[in-house]
Symmetry: D2
Subunit: 326 residues, 4 copies
């Protein structure tokens, strides 16, 4: 039998749709396996400041369909210091919490890893981030919903772009990873995507213009990942206005609504599977691993691997986008 | 029997969801009544440049659910000149078009009015604008869809606002009319709305702050109509950041997606009723009138009235918003 | 100052989207006006069995966007008896509840009316029903959402109907009132609607067939209100299969999903306005009235009027549907 | 250089969301690679009856977001006979069509396989079916959209189920494959799923009842795959009503709307990738293969394998559902 009798659960970093489905599955699977569950509010911050409550199955009823996180989330500078982490550890001991399930992105798992090593404390992580930029899992919780949200927004903008023969630059999230911009462009039938993986290498906009971009079309849509290098949608649009003064150029920045919304089926199923797997992992004495999904099977990814490595985009998709939008 | 044997139909100005439903109803009702129909592309511009095609019932099949306008729309400086309007008139004569149905907002109807007077030519208008700012009709085609789009976006942003205890300023359309901002705020459970009708009178933000805005709440959402007076969401947020440095303030500008999307039931029904009524009006020798809806009955509103008068907001709704968001 | 210091609030009968927005507005407006609020679960049943809890503003946070009713609803045979109502009255006295706000349809208001008269007890009602069949209000809470849900379902079915050249009969709610079927048909571009108001008078299907229904079209959709007279969609489809064996006929019964879903902007605004108005009415010593909306203004409708009179459909809409679907 | 200079494209069998995205990608990729394209309407039936038109890039503009299939689809008994297939072959020759891209499910690929062998004719297939029951591909075009449609419907029904403390049996598609029912149940937080893979082995309902199904919950939802064995949702509900007369049991049959709707991002991306890959396959002299996706890579699956083998469900998901719905 596992030594884990009581788990704590928290969400950390940027919120992502599906986090509530994960909280629900972790809670219920823990209770199903005879553990008790403590919900920790506002991530590591609430752990330090003792925002911790008992969680029963009813606490997670009727939340699978909701965006955001009922446990809320917050940034926590204090947890980055040894003193802060000591305070966090003391809370866990006070509440009799034997292991922690942490749901979040890169920063959250980095914090989890340091803490786990410092105190030899069992933590398992769930990858919750719309950016899909964690290594070791084919997909992260929240990515599919954000992708569909982007697509639906672009569908709406296309209505008006087509009606007016306009050229739209639409900025989406993904400062370091082009998954949302590239796949969002394919899904919405956009003409091009400008993504960070490529903008380091070459000038995507110049290439678009050279290859006769927009010769045959009256209206066009380009998805642009937010970026200091390109200046995002605003920066790109400014350049185009100079080069093509005849174009009726517009900019739209989708912003925070990309984080919200009721999660898609894929995100809910993924979050539920990973939530159940997290408890299985603890029962199996696993620790310091992130749940991942590879080829539709759950895998355990060491925190160190998930954080350190970059997840590459599939470059074939650049061709797919180009060919399908002629 | 009516003298009108052939009508032309066009959409002009900013596109609005429901315009296609209107095009469908006008076309079918005209054909039902024995008229022939010409679709004119790109508004008054296409009328001048002769982008005119025959429309049968099939041309408007399967479009009721689509956003934008299949007839496209464009601004047209030339139509503002007597020479341009003469060219337009010549085209109508060449095609044997006896009357025009023009779907659009304030600018479109203004153009229609001048043209109708200059050439003693029968035109009927349909109010198509998301801003809902035409006098003489309780509601315009596109307003209900835009209102729902805004609400759905705010619902998504609330997910993340609540997860992070943030204060959001969300900018919506309506430079001269606060219908979208005020009703959008009530519908989405936002805490306040900053609207043009009031910002001329007093400083809504100062008042919000004085009355203890946001004392009891962790996260808040304020809808702000785009405005030169207030600076829109950006301008308001800058002021709040200075006054309340402790708040985690964010801005979101919804932008062009407010114009798109599949129309709601109300917009499709309204557009269909108005489209059928437009042909009834022509059969009844009406001209130079906009279709309006008042108390769920179709009315004819002279262009002059619809354009010149401001439609007031219902100020009771300001109280409704305040009371319901404590 | 009003004698009402504490109100009870309940939802009764079939649930309708927007009920939560109404609960939120009633609760907050009452608190804003210095009253205390008791939430009564499961309608009159919970009143009798004492499922009554204190409601603060937080109890109604973040519910405006949710379908169903957080207060739940139930049928209650006991409340139809004098003994049951006496028990209900005793509970109200025990809890110090001075007035009741009841949200529901015909049955709920009938119960409210009898109770109010029997015990000389102040009750105000809110019209909450997707069927839109209450007299004295242009529209009821839940109707607009149900109409949009129906339209979206028909939009989906049209995708497959068109792909297969099929004739679909789709059954919607409204046993006694054709609002959903008729307006749903116009909104979704359906070819016809079979509604109770007309099926008493004549054989709508026979007429459709006689007038050459479906001569010019490959696929068609007919909305049918549930009905004992016509047999609903199943009954109508059986007859068509016999008369037109060459048609590829399909039936779809939308069923309970018509009651659910996040409320539309119109329903949320209506529910919020009516909720605030209900407290205003109590402050103004009104009682035994239903909140109604007429010409965009709140009105008070005596229970007796709201219940006894039938709300007529606008028969012009039958022509609108016929003309727009040729 | 490839011998293929002109391709034909058709959709066959039940329509599925994403088919239009596939048509768009096939058409554009073919043109990009110098081929000409013929659109064949109504599947093999239209091939025989010569419903064949030239397709340019504009023919597939603005269709990626639409449900159904612009090429329509039909059953075709004649194509099951050698005579019918000979007629089909003659048409292909007349139009100079060198290869065929067929999008559809099991039946469509079976027909394609026989035809390809009989006439030594190059065909590539795309798996288009919401049931996800084709071997050799992790997922089929249309499945993700149908899964999300089911989930959204169950979300709506849960609103009313929860409000009324009811037990709902909801019937979904998948006569031979439980993917939609099982994953739909996990995604929507349903309590159980009754699926064909298991109903052959044992009585799932009896087991649910024995294991104390619904002891701790007021409302419950069970997804039931359509089935002759269990009688579908109706059959299961009848049995429950007898065993548990105290439950308030309701049935909902989702029906044809599961086939419709704008495709999700995953379906559009999958369809676009497979559409581009189909032309790549022809350029590479592949034939008689279905495009599949495995571990996010495109693979070629021989028709014989795709048709003959059953795709198994992941039985771990049964545990996931059970544990997460306690």
């Amino acid at each position: 039998m596992s030594a884990v009798k009581c788990i704590g659960i928290l969400t950390s970093g940027g919120d992502a749709p599906g986090m509530n489905a994960a909280i629900r599955a972790v809670t219920r699977s823990a209770i199903y396996n005879g553990m008790s569950v403590k919900g920790i509010y506002r991530g590591y911050k609430g752990l330090i400041t003792d925002e911790i409550v008992d969680f029963k199955t009813q606490n997670v009823s009727n939340i699978i369909q909701r965006g955001g996180t009922i446990l809320k989330t917050a940034r926590c500078e204090e947890f980055k210091t040894p003193e802060g982490r000591k305070l966090a550890y003391d809370r866990l001991m006070e509440h009799g919490i034997d292991a922690l399930v942490s749901i979040g992105g890169d920063g959250s798992l980095t914090g989890a890893r340091i803490f786990a090593q410092e105190f030899n404390y069992p933590i398992v992580g769930l990858p919750g981030t719309i950016d899909n930029d964690l290594f070791g899992t084919d997909v992260t919780i929240g990515y599919d919903t954000a992708l569909n949200t982007i697509m639906e927004c672009v569908d709406k903008i296309r209505d008006t772009a087509t009606s007016h023969d306009r050229l739209f630059f639409i900025e989406v999230m993904g400062r370091d990873a082009g998954f949302l911009a590239l796949n969002g462009a394919i899904a919405s039938g956009a003409e091009a995507a400008i993504i960070p993986e490529i903008s380091m290498e070459k000038d995507q906009l110049a290439e678009m213009i050279e290859t006769g971009f927009r010769k045959s079309k009256n209206s066009s849509i380009v998805l642009v990942a937010e970026s200091e290098v390109t200046g995002g949608a605003m920066g790109v649009a400014e350049r185009v206005k100079k080069e093509y003064p005849q174009f009726d150029v517009r900019v739209s920045i989708l912003g925070h609504l990309q984080r919200g919304g009721s999660p898609t089926a894929q995100d809910r199923i993924l979050a539920t599977r990973m939530g159940v797997a997290a408890i299985d992992a603890l029962l199996d004495d696993q620790r310091n691993v992130m749940m991942g999904i590879q080829n539709d099977e759950i895998v355990y990814v060491p925190f160190s691997k998930a954080i350190k490595n970059d997840k590459p985009i599939n470059r074939d998709l650049l061709d797919t986008l180009r060919v399908s939008s002629i």
